[in-house]
């Protein structure tokens, strides 16, 4: 009922949760830490249900930070086992997931996932790859700085690869050679003289087309000094925020609308730094994650809708 009501307004496309407070909850209720995490998982299930009923496209959750490996070993182990079991169960319910178009993505450092969990992760991703209606993006061994580093690295990699001319499989020298050999077969020398300036012009062409783009930039050195080797690279000046963004884990998702952190801590703690830098509404809630429920989430949504409306009014006024 309430959700049907909320649906009448704008709905965020991408929501991120930092699930903080499981251990404090466990401590307050005098239960085991791992038990707290289990309750946290239940809260996550609740939240996911609400989100997808509302029509949120992507939910990103911070499940495990790279820094979390510093925690007591049995806790890390408990968390890993939990991840394994949950993913295993999920895989068993593949058909249900398909029916709702639910997809799982895992963002993070793959190398750091323990070997016994990795196959389950891979299978879950593989099975739900085609589902795009409701995506759960799990950040698992993740820190935002590591993500940004790898994105920068990938960008550099992309630009450090010599980019081939548009038709890579065909080699110009081979073609000219072939022509030459054909010509030499057909007749004797005369036409070769004609062919060679031709082929020189061709190779000039290649150089020109690439270096002319560099020549357009006032900063870049004048033409003669650019060695022909670097002409094969993409111009680094063409790197933009978009380029880096395309190497982020979240590249395929819509921009982040709401960021929620529970347990009253007012930090981002290395989560979604790149993504939430603009137009993201950040909420810090006082409740601990296992307590997080509809009652906490609806005010957030309402406030977001309200602000969205205000912004739209402002935009409308500005346009007039």
């Amino acid at each position: 009922m309430l959700i049907g009501t909320l649906k009448q307004g704008p709905i965020p496309k991408h929501v991120a949760f930092e699930m903080d407070g499981n251990r404090r909850f466990a401590k307050n209720h005098q239960i085991e830490t791992v038990e707290g995490h289990h309750l946290g998982f239940e809260a996550l299930a609740r939240v996911l249900e609400i989100c997808y009923k509302c029509g949120v496209k992507v939910v990103t959750v911070y499940a495990f930070s790279i820094e979390n490996f510093n925690r007591p070993r049995h806790e890390v182990k408990g968390l890993m086992t939990m991840a394994k079991v949950k993913l295993e169960q999920l895989v068993q319910h593949g058909e249900l997931l398909d029916r709702y178009g639910a997809g799982i993505r895992v963002s993070g450092e793959r190398d750091l996932i323990p070997d016994d969990v990795l196959p389950f992760v891979d299978r879950a991703i593989e099975m739900t790859k085609h589902n795009k209606d409701a995506i759960l993006n799990i950040c698992f061994p993740y820190t935002s700085r590591a993500e940004m580093t790898s994105a920068i690295k990938a960008t550099v990699d992309e630009y450090a690869m010599p980019s081939r001319p548009p038709n890579p499989p065909f080699s110009q020298s081979r073609i000219t050679q072939k022509i030459r050999s054909n010509q030499s077969k057909n007749s004797d020398l005369p036409s070769i003289r004609e062919a060679s300036p031709d082929d020189a012009a061709k190779s000039d062409d290649v150089d020109d087309s690439v270096s002319s783009t560099t020549a357009l930039d006032p900063d870049s050195p004048p033409l003669p000094s650019t060695p022909s080797r670097s002409a094969n690279f993409k111009n680094p000046e063409t790197i933009t925020a978009e380029t880096i963004n395309s190497h982020m884990y979240t590249a395929e998702f819509p921009p982040l609308d709401i960021f929620i952190r529970t347990s009253g801590v007012m930090r981002l703690s290395d989560f979604m730094l790149w993504q939430c830098h603009e137009n993201t509404h950040i909420f810090f809630l006082d409740c601990l994650w296992p307590e997080f429920d509809l009652g906490n989430f609806v005010p957030v949504l309402l406030e977001w809708q309200w602000r969205q409306k205000k912004l739209m009014e402002k935009d409308g006024a500005a346009r007039k």
Binding site: G4, Q92, S144, V156, A160, P236, L268, H277, I282, L302
Partner: protein, 328 residues
């Protein structure tokens, strides 16, 4: 909506027994009641009004009810928000009258003396007011900058970075510097004032020459101006440089590590701030540098509008209470 007690219990029992109790089938039975309607039905709610008949009419009424409820809820919520805003404004006003700093560093020093720790680096987000163009707006902004700088100097915070989206202050560095020194001079007596330096990425810092060279323990205040260009754009620039170096074969992509980037951004733009204060009614980073904000404590006084000493002080208090555990 929420799970029934019986099902929750069944789930937890299964959890405890190491997931041996329930088979795949049983588990599917368990969740079945909570799953939304299958997508083909779910998608055709309110929009699909074409099919007439009893069912269509009911759907239509239902969606009308939802629309009505939506506006109703929003109306109520809007009233609630307005009351909240009004209440907080009044409370703020009263507090600021009671605890006015009277432009004297001593009052501020007394205010912060009870705090268990102070941030080494404070960052504030200031906004250039829209609409009113020209000198007035800029003057107001510079005035806010000087105010905040004076508070920081009094509280003994050595580094202050000021984020302003458009970067207009960067064009008026000398003017800003002059205004800052004037302000500090009026707040502090001539010789007690901190040594001021104003810097921004890619420009040489403007330093106030230290007047008495013998004063070793003299406080310093480093003000850094940052703008949208220092956020994602700076990282893009860095990537460009790295890409160029990689192309020339001087580095390989595997040499690029977190430390390298961190070091470079900290040197070129600024190190990580400890505390970020936003004077806006809600947290919106407006393009604030993403790399640096990792562990920054973010303080934003809800529904607050405008720069005020109360917000500053509360942010410092909040910072003193916060605990840092870095993933542990």
């Amino acid at each position: 909506m929420s799970f029934s007690a019986r099902d929750t219990k069944a789930y937890r029992d299964d959890e405890q027994s190491g997931h041996r109790k329930l088979g795949v089938q049983q588990r599917e039975e368990l969740v079945k009641n909570y799953l939304p309607a299958a997508p083909n039905r779910a998608r055709s709610n309110s929009r699909n009004r074409k099919d007439t008949g009893h069912f269509g009419l009911r759907k239509f009424l239902k969606s009308q009810l939802y629309v009505f409820l939506y506006f109703f809820v929003h109306a109520v919520f809007s009233i609630y928000l307005r009351i909240r805003v009004a209440y907080r404004v009044v409370a703020n006003q009263i507090l600021s009258i009671l605890k006015y700093h009277h432009n004297t560093p001593d009052y501020i020093r007394r205010d912060v003396s009870t705090l268990s720790r102070l941030p080494r680096h404070v960052s504030v987000i200031l906004t250039l007011e829209e609409g009113g163009r020209g000198v007035d707006v800029l003057e107001k902004l510079i005035n806010e900058v000087t105010e905040v700088a004076a508070w920081c100097a009094s509280a003994g915070i050595p580094r202050l970075s000021i984020y302003e989206k458009t970067g207009i202050l960067k064009k008026y560095m000398p003017q800003t510097h002059r205004a800052l020194s004037r302000k500090l001079k009026t707040w502090f007596a001539r010789h007690q004032g901190p040594v001021l330096s104003l810097s921004t990425r890619g420009e040489t810092a403007i330093q106030t020459p230290s007047r008495d060279h013998f004063a070793q323990d003299q406080q310093t205040l480093e003000v850094i101006l940052i703008s949208e260009d220092d956020g994602r754009e700076a990282m893009v620039d860095l990537t460009r440089v790295l890409a160029e170096m990689a192309q020339k074969g001087r580095i390989s992509a595997s040499d690029i590590t977190l430390d390298v980037i961190d070091n470079e951004l900290a040197e070129a733009v600024m190190p990580e701030p400890n505390l970020l204060i936003s004077f806006e009614p809600y947290v919106d980073l407006q393009g604030y540098p993403p790399w640096q904000i990792r562990l920054t404590e973010i303080y934003c006084s809800p529904d607050n509008q405008g720069v005020g000493y109360q917000v500053f002080l509360r942010a410092l208090r909040k910072y003193a209470q916060a605990t840092f555990k870095l993933g542990k």
